[in-house]
Symmetry: C2
Subunit: 683 residues, 2 copies
Amino acid sequence: MNIDMMFHPRGVAVVGSVTQGKIGYHVIVQLLEGGFRQVYAVNPKAKGILSARGFSAVAHIDQPVDLVVIATPAPTVREVLEDCGQARVPAAIILTAGFSEVGNLEGEEEIVRTARRYGIHFIGPNCAGLIDTHFDLFPTLEVRPPKGEVSFLSQSGALGGVVLSWAEEQGVGISKFISYGNGADLNEIHFLEYLREDPETKVAALYCETISDGRAFLQAARDFTARKPLVVIKSGRSQAGQRATLSHTGSMAGQDIVHDAVLRECGAIRVPDVEAMFDLCKGFVYLPPVKGRRLAIVTNSGGPGVLAADRAEQSGLLLPEPTPSLRDELAAGLPATCSLKNPFDLTVEATGEQCRKALTAVLREYDAALMINVSPAYLDPIPLAEGICAARQEADRPIVASFMAGKPVKPSLPYLRAGGVPNYATGERAATVLGWMADFEERKASRFAVQAPPAPVGCLPGRGRPLEPQVMEWLRENHIPVLDFRFASSQQDAVRDAQALGYPVVMKVVSRGILHKSDVGGVILGIQNEQDVLYAYRSLQGVGSGEDFQGVILYPLVRGAVEALVGLTQDPQFGPVVVFGLGGIHTEVLHDISVRVAPVDGTQARAMIAEIRAFPILKGIRGERPRDVDALADLLVAVSRLPFLYPDLRELDLNPVFLLPEGLVVGDARLIGQEGSGVEKSL
Amino acid sequence: MNIDMMFHPRGVAVVGSVTQGKIGYHVIVQLLEGGFRQVYAVNPKAKGILSARGFSAVAHIDQPVDLVVIATPAPTVREVLEDCGQARVPAAIILTAGFSEVGNLEGEEEIVRTARRYGIHFIGPNCAGLIDTHFDLFPTLEVRPPKGEVSFLSQSGALGGVVLSWAEEQGVGISKFISYGNGADLNEIHFLEYLREDPETKVAALYCETISDGRAFLQAARDFTARKPLVVIKSGRSQAGQRATLSHTGSMAGQDIVHDAVLRECGAIRVPDVEAMFDLCKGFVYLPPVKGRRLAIVTNSGGPGVLAADRAEQSGLLLPEPTPSLRDELAAGLPATCSLKNPFDLTVEATGEQCRKALTAVLREYDAALMINVSPAYLDPIPLAEGICAARQEADRPIVASFMAGKPVKPSLPYLRAGGVPNYATGERAATVLGWMADFEERKASRFAVQAPPAPVGCLPGRGRPLEPQVMEWLRENHIPVLDFRFASSQQDAVRDAQALGYPVVMKVVSRGILHKSDVGGVILGIQNEQDVLYAYRSLQGVGSGEDFQGVILYPLVRGAVEALVGLTQDPQFGPVVVFGLGGIHTEVLHDISVRVAPVDGTQARAMIAEIRAFPILKGIRGERPRDVDALADLLVAVSRLPFLYPDLRELDLNPVFLLPEGLVVGDARLIGQEGSGVEKSL
């Protein structure tokens, strides 16, 4: 389907009542007032309004119609689509609510079926329409925003309306607006693909609560950010809720941490709210790329510069001091009262020419500059604005301004806007934007290639939850280094196995009924001799009694390893997710983990490893030898491929993984397959 | 001194040039335009302007003058103060810059001396003056803000100006404004004391970069918050810098974490920037106290409610679902299309009366309500505003609004303001304010009593850095449980001591030259027998050779303990600070520590313990027995008193402290005293 038809239709029909106060009426008025002329009203009485002629059916319209806006009650929508189909209309906007969002799944499926039959593509239902300011097209109830270069995709119609209402006062022009509502047919993925190619879109912003198809989104977002910035508000952080899961991995990796990782890896910038979204879009529209993290703050007063410096550091920017040669250059051109440290304080007596000089000079050394101007009521801020704009003309690096505050600086703001210098209410907000823009450039450079998942090769070793020896064997077959182990189902076997492994050994109960072995005394460490083995066996037999006791598993005792957890879980929107953290308290108490949508490559794996707070432990602290990070990255890559090689695999915990100075070895493993899947092997 | 005189002077003299464009001129114009009449101009030519008569000296003024504004060049300020002294003026505002802020400490000391001689109190130098809107008093260059109940104290004049400029557009009226500049005489502490008693101040906001006297501030802020809310912007987070220090404790506890702890304990609310400050002040001015964390979000659309819910949870609020009886009540009064889960969605068709009903009902069950209204262009928002204001009349619990956005909702905002309902640009900002207001009530309830420091009792055991056995002995004398230890200066003694302690033992080198014993092989664990002891002694002797080797210290080996660090360091503004964290990676890698200004009581000590992220480890995880938190609290209390008992004490590391299921014991200690202090004891 050619989505472009939606934004550039030859004619638009609006189906619905044209009585004043009804939605159909308002949409027609909007279209006409917005400057679109080929508008037709469709209603049973064929009533027209204003310059829009009336027809009793879309099929009766005697002019080309490429887009139909449907604003009739939910039960009639299918019928209207039939009419559109007869008229060979390729595209529709279904404003009507009352479908899946209120549980009417059947009704929504029905309109999708009908539309598909006629090859109609649509946005909605339950949406607020769309806007193309460059084509004067406003089939929506929302306010008409100023023309510009930001396109906004919104799952929520209400939030879309808020954004459009704010666009003017925030100084951000809109190119296209799409409220895709329930996304029953077209959704954010289709529009990201369209906007990527749209010459009138410089930046896209997306508000979403859910993601339609995680993996398709991943690819679409990644392709988008290769060309243009993508700003995302993903809400529902608090709604992630507790999914019922049996693995540690599953219970640790909430949805939100997955979304964070996905968006970061796609190269998108996730912002917390609509104000931040505007701030950032404004930066992307006005500024050249922020190609480094070295920020110079130039002010005409102390306090606000300090606040901005604090925020800049929190946003990942650096505030290095100037080099001696820059200091000399500044000193030569500025009065002696100026402070030539970063933040640079030109004092309240700074002139526009001094601002220009200072900004031009610092931008030869720094990656970006922030000019904060605090205008007392008696100062004229316009010369400063002019000085900044002059510097902007000379520099190919970003300059942002914060002219504080209120009435005294208002007259200067149009100068900044005309001069291409975005202005922010506070230096903190400006610094935050520069930090995100630097993130964007960095992520663009390091953006991952979406990994093709490998093809399935086989089945899991047993239905549901196989036993530990089965899982360890299966891991070994998949070339994952596991600790040497023996399964013993009698005391005699256990003694023989312990001798074969060499003392000291570890023994654990093998039983279908026990989920958390160490919580019930099902793990015995440091077994030194035959007598210990016999005692341990009997003890574990007791623990497993009544729980389908199968025997014990024996391992050699590992000393001096750093313990890690490597796991897999399922995200409802993105599918298999690989999880990494250090063992014990690091994951369970401190929740210090990193996640990625599987599969991952070596570069992603190494980024996961470096991302945890506890990473210095792997580099070796207090004289400990560093751990083999390459082996760990290999393990993460291998594990991340397993759910594709074995599609029955739901969740996996490798915990502990013993990380050694050279290599690593998996010391325990639990696996959850799809219930009813897998081939039962005997032990 | 009676600070009240500054805000209610019988007459004000302005000393400085009255040429147009000069500061003296502008201040006089401000005073007169603001409505104050008893203004006198003082300058060599005795030139008056407008209705202000001119005099050549303050002493020549023939009317009572209680306040002099000094705007003359820095070198003349002393002289002007002499003139004020002759005239028996009690108070001055020194606007003039060029004192300690540019390194002119001598000049500043001189004016302080002069003022003291005459009993004059002053604000500044290098300040922006003050304002009392209720007395129509504006001796400042800054804009005149609307009258209100928020008083603002600012160390930065520029930031003060920004706040005043914004006050009107943010809907926040100002009572008093004080820019105290260098604070050479009066500073934030004096004004907190004054504003606490001021009936025209409901809330105070403070911007500061440094704090004049940490312990006095602690007391003043604490006393203030017992009566009124205190909102603080403390900047310079990024400026904390690295203090040169020899102890672990000192290097971990940056200044900013100390400030966070101090402000939290005083009951103040620290906000990140000026926008947040306004948001919060507005909440405190308009709303009754937020006496719990249960928030109901009521909306007329989905998306913005979800965003607000996310932020509310991040701000520490709870969003419980309604009880069945509340659901029934709501269902009876609202259309079936409304969603009766929290956030409650009344849909875009909600009427003002439905809003009123819903808010009134939820406030019987929740501690606060947030109403988000997203008005499409075709909806009239005024009835909703009226409904909310009606609910506000009925409820004694807080209601805040977020009417989003732009032009469509503008006409309704005056209704909200008049009805006492604060409105925020986004639901997120409103939720953040409610979270802080709930914090304030909680902190008020649990606010600590400032501990009186104990009186000095003695000297440290040795100058500078005493040796480990000396420190352990000294701790024992101070009733701090230390591990049994022996000091041995020969192999024979070491063998005897090891036998006395019982194997296995730990041996460490005792030497003045070695700072980090374990980094140089100066700690040997798990010594099992006499032969090991002899070998270890020789090895440690080798390690200590050339480093003023004194012998070895022996301890029994402790098993199964959780290791903690308890320490003391010095904050430049607050003096001794006590620090707590778990050992090893928890403090060194993860920086998971809590701090308090010393001394602390048992309640504060328990709060410190519970505050670290790793606290669950002390409660016992994975079958481990819980640790003796009472003993740990006792230790923190005892340690926090040491720097007062021993004023020479600069820094102390107790690391590790072995935390046991019953009791605890200190396993190693390092101490740094003031160089040259202490009494050298022989070992």
